[in-house]
């Protein structure tokens, strides 16, 4: 039945040529954003959320979903052509993808990753359409206790997984985000909190300006502050044996795919595993596409029957696995976003902000209030997949020129768009201040290896944690044992939360995460003079 709803929504969208056109344009823009280093899908969605505030809702979500799908895919193009992933989620793809390019097979690698991205996104959409309605029905049984524990679980998991240095930094990030969320009037008592008499603070810190600050401004500063900022956004030197133009021209528009889908389909076991990893990791609160891509890459390498091919520029598994996973994570991340109002990834977190400013309240009631909304979003992603296929072919040739736009021209424009986008939402000059302040703080924290994701998730889930915690206590007259005894769901959450804390603290004493060792090694190799690690 769910699939029928999905198909029905898909055709409804397709019947509106304007929406289709918007999705195609947005997917193209998303692909370019994803391909350019420093511009991410999250930043793209955050900027466009502000800039599309006055656009009709159906176009707004078409734009945002197109940017999301295109942005996650786009990173792989620069990863293959120039060995520099446009987004963090394409970092794993760059390892083998660039070796393909060095062997003169960049065009084929781009086609295979495009096919893998399409397959991954399709699996994610199916998961969204099939799982989300069931999950929202289960979530209807959630009381304040379960919501509180779910939100705590989200911040904790996100902090534990996404950090690239000490786990405790992820937790500190999440807690700092919660502190920001407490600013403003308390919904339960009506008491002003931490506003210090400032009228701008009494309404709380707006989510979208904070996100623009955390995701856009640090990238502007990073791009211009590092040595050689006046160089092209992509450092072309020594990346590939052929020029990017020559490489890109081989994946010419309209050219017949030389069996890229066939290559992808030959790796069905890898695709299935990676898609499941993508959906599963994507569904974890705040974790997102980049972690999914690394875990799928690691899993594919461990389970590969052709281990000798890895690192030779001939191993398709190595580029298929991360691309399937990071695109499947789009659907995965949207599941908790729509059913529990808990975003599964940083781009989904920004989408939550977009839903809120357009008066759409995700959560368990969504199947009651707007029964078709989940299928509508799934169908938008589905149309974006079709757009991705077309746009991927069309953009192959001009992409090499686009990648040459120097940071010194591009980044100041991003700064201007950040200011315009933040101001447009509430017409408050204070929101511009929030963008600048959080941008500077975000940059400093980024230098100290604090990920923005747990901070942002803390800001988003802070109200949920605070309100539900007190509601649960009020109902039970201050008895905290209710958090464990309320239901089997709450007990499971308590056990998982305790396990995560104990696991992180006892054996490794707050040490680094082993799973992300590859990511750190790879990112370290991106620095000047560094060499990509061989698997």
């Amino acid at each position: 039945m769910e699939l029928l709803y999905l198909i029905e929504e898909f055709f409804k969208i397709v019947m509106d040529p304007m929406v289709v056109l918007v999705i195609f344009g947005a997917t193209a823009l998303g692909t370019i954003i994803g391909a350019l280093p420093g511009l991410t899908a999250t930043m793209g969605i955050a900027l466009l959320t502000g800039l599309t505030y006055k656009v009709p809702v159906n176009y707004t979500f078409a734009i945002l979903m197109g940017i999301y799908v295109g942005g996650i895919y786009g990173g792989s193009i620069s990863a293959i052509l120039l060995n520099i992933p446009g987004t963090a989620s394409a970092a794993a793809t760059a390892i083998e993808g660039n070796l393909f390019a060095k062997r003169g097979k960049a065009a084929l690698a781009i086609k295979v990753t495009r096919s893998a991205s399409i397959i991954g996104t399709l699996v994610g959409v199916l998961a969204l359409a099939l799982i989300a309605p069931q999950l929202s029905r289960i979530a209807l049984q959630f009381s304040a206790v379960e919501y509180f524990l779910l939100a705590v679980f989200g911040v904790l998991m996100c902090g534990s997984i996404v950090t690239s240095d000490l786990t405790i930094k992820g937790w500190i990030g999440g807690l700092l985000g919660l502190c920001v969320a407490f600013i403003g009037y308390d919904v339960i008592s009506g008491a002003p909190r931490f506003d210090f008499g400032n009228i701008n603070l009494s309404g709380g810190i707006s989510l979208i300006p904070a996100m623009i600050g955390f995701y856009a401004i640090p990238e502007v500063i990073k791009a211009l502050a590092r040595d050689g900022a006046d160089a092209p956004a992509m450092d072309m030197e020594g990346s590939v044996t052929e020029s990017p133009e020559a490489l890109a021209s081989k994946s010419v528009a309209g050219g017949k795919d030389p069996g890229s889908f066939a290559i992808a389909l030959k790796n069905i076991p890898v695709i299935i595993r990676s898609a499941l990893i993508g959906v599963g990791i994507g569904a974890l609160p705040g974790v997102g596409e980049d972690v999914a891509a690394w875990i799928a890459y690691d899993n594919a390498r461990k389970t590969s029957k052709r281990k000798d091919e890895w690192g030779t520029g001939e191993c398709y598994e190595a580029i298929i696995a991360p691309e399937v996973a990071n695109n499947a994570a789009i659907g995965g991340a949207t599941i908790p976003l729509l059913t529990l109002a808990v975003p599964g990834s940083p781009p989904a977190a920004v989408l939550l902000g977009a839903f809120m400013i357009h008066n759409i309240r995700p959560g368990p009631m969504i199947m009651v209030d707007s029964p078709r909304f989940i299928f509508y979003i799934a169908a938008l992603i589905l149309v974006a997949v079709v757009a991705l296929w077309v746009v991927g072919i069309l953009l192959a040739r001009p992409m090499s020129s686009i990648l040459k736009i120097p940071s010194v021209f591009l980044m100041p424009i991003i700064a201007v768009l950040s200011i315009v986008g933040a101001y447009a939402l509430n017409l408050k000059r204070f929101d511009i201040f929030v963008v600048v302040l959080f941008g500077a703080i975000g940059y400093i924290l980024d230098k100290m290896k604090y990920s923005a994701a747990p901070i942002v998730l803390g800001i988003i889930l802070g109200t949920m944690i605070d309100e539900n915690f007190r509601r649960a206590l009020i109902v039970n007259k201050g008895d905290p044992s209710f958090f464990v005894t309320n239901s089997w769901i709450s007990l499971v959450f308590v056990v998982i939360i305790a396990y995560v804390i104990i696991k992180q603290m006892v054996p490794r004493q707050l040490g680094s995460r082993v799973n992300l060792k590859n990511l750190r090694g790879f990112l370290a190799a991106r620095r000047p003079g560094g060499t990509p690690p061989r698997p």
Binding site: L51, T52, Y53, K54, L166, I168, W171, I172, L175, L176, L178, C179, F182, D186, I188, S189, A191, R193, F194, G197, I217, V220, I221, L224, A225, R226, D227, A229, D230, P406, V408, F409, M411, P412, I413, A415, V416, L417, I419, V420, A424, L427, R429, I432, F433, V435, V436, G439, A440, M448, K449, I465, D466, F469, R470, L473, I474, G478, Q509, L510
Partner: protein
Amino acid sequence: MEKSTLRRADLLFSIALILGSLWFMIQSIKLFLNPFGRKWEAVPAEAVKETLTFWYKSPALMPFFVSLLVLLCSVMLFHVAMKSGARLDFIKKDKIAAFLKNREFQSFVVITLLLCVYAFVLIPVCGKLLVRIRIIRGFPFFVATFIYLLSMMLAFGHRKLGHAVRSLLVSFLVSGIVTYAFGTLAKIPLP
């Protein structure tokens, strides 16, 4: 950032966090006892008694817990940094001078300052001075954006005539496109 430098930064940041969390904790206790920010003399004893009885209703409850957790995590971070060999021996005149001369730090300061000047000086000043000129809708924003973009592009680009000309052209075009596309076409209120 090198690991040793990172741990030094962690050490410094953990101290700042400890102080910050203590401050947040004090504010939470104040909020707990006096949630509506009345003068302390005006807070009746009954109200405090009721707050203590029904502690679980207080808006300060979660902020207090969170500040406690931040304090705990900060102490742990301090411990990890100390264990890694980080000390506060880098707070010396020469090292601070070297840090201030660091290209990346200087760039960070310049970018942030330029952004502040754009948002809080250029836009309001242009708005006041050029409000009567109505060549296009949002003309003051156009001028402010043009000045900002040009100064950023010149500050971080090559010191060559070719780059200056290109910067001029790009700044002019982008300012025009942004002002027209958002201000007129999309009807988005410009700052």
